[in-house]
Symmetry: C2
Subunit: 153 residues, 2 copies
């Protein structure tokens, strides 16, 4: 179970502190030339799933303090980047494709983060199924931070 | 960039042929005991993102024939399991948690598939953003198959 980078994220964020929580900024995904052919037809989609490797992540704790609640939560009930397998995941809007470069909106990854997979977002299977999803312990809490820890979400 | 299994999927599907496309069946996720504490509070969420390793995947081609269209598509414009990094991804409904075992609806993975991450599904960041997503080249095609290849979706 070894991952190989298929490309890299280019973003304005140099550190974890600079990267916004689930940000709305514009980033680029530069795919390696060898995978360029695999992007054919991707511009027909408005949204993509992007999977990346949080290479700045350092270890993990099964109990996590978040910015949203004074009580610690179980790791898998949070979006902390410090995970057993530090896989980053975002839904992004595809702004433009030029050759092997995708311009996307909605990544919060640090510049230089390795990309490991890209899949098309297909509403029929990706959002209809979750049409009635709740927000769990985060219900009503996303608007106001409890503290400024960066680990939590 | 090495992945370690955090658990395993238990499903009724023994082979790729048996596993439904984006199925609606009930599966279990058995987390390793050592990660059990990380599931605390997860039962407050109705839906989860599940990430797994498609260990039955064998190589990949950058041009993919799908069941939905006679024209081959670029790999990253499809959901084929044969990918440079064979990461499986589904949104599932959490039916029940008992200790380190999650019962979920919506996985189409083969019995024994390694689980690599679980994240809470949070509508605010996971579906509002994709509220106007289209279906790309799949628009209008999901209802009828062009052929019976298993590779495509």
């Amino acid at each position: 179970m070894k991952l190989k980078p298929i490309g890299v994220i280019r973003s304005p964020y140099r550190t974890r502190e600079e990267a916004p929580h689930q940000g709305k900024g514009i980033s680029r995904i530069e795919l390696k030339d060898e995978f360029s052919e695999g992007l054919r037809d991707i511009e027909s989609f408005s949204h993509l799933h992007v999977f990346y490797w949080l290479d700045r992540s350092e270890g993990f704790s099964l109990s996590v303090r978040t910015p949203w609640d004074p009580e610690p939560k179980g790791l898998f009930a949070t979006r902390t980047p410090n995970r057993p397998n530090p896989i980053g995941y975002s839904v992004v809007r595809l702004v433009e494709r030029r050759g092997n470069v995708l311009t996307v909106e909605g990544l919060d990854a640090i510049d230089g983060t390795p990309v490991i997979d890209i899949k098309p977002y297909i509403p029929k299977i990706d959002s209809e199924r979750a049409g009635k999803a709740n927000s769990g312990w985060l219900e009503g809490k996303l608007g106001r931070r409890w503290n400024e820890t960066r680990d939590g979400f």
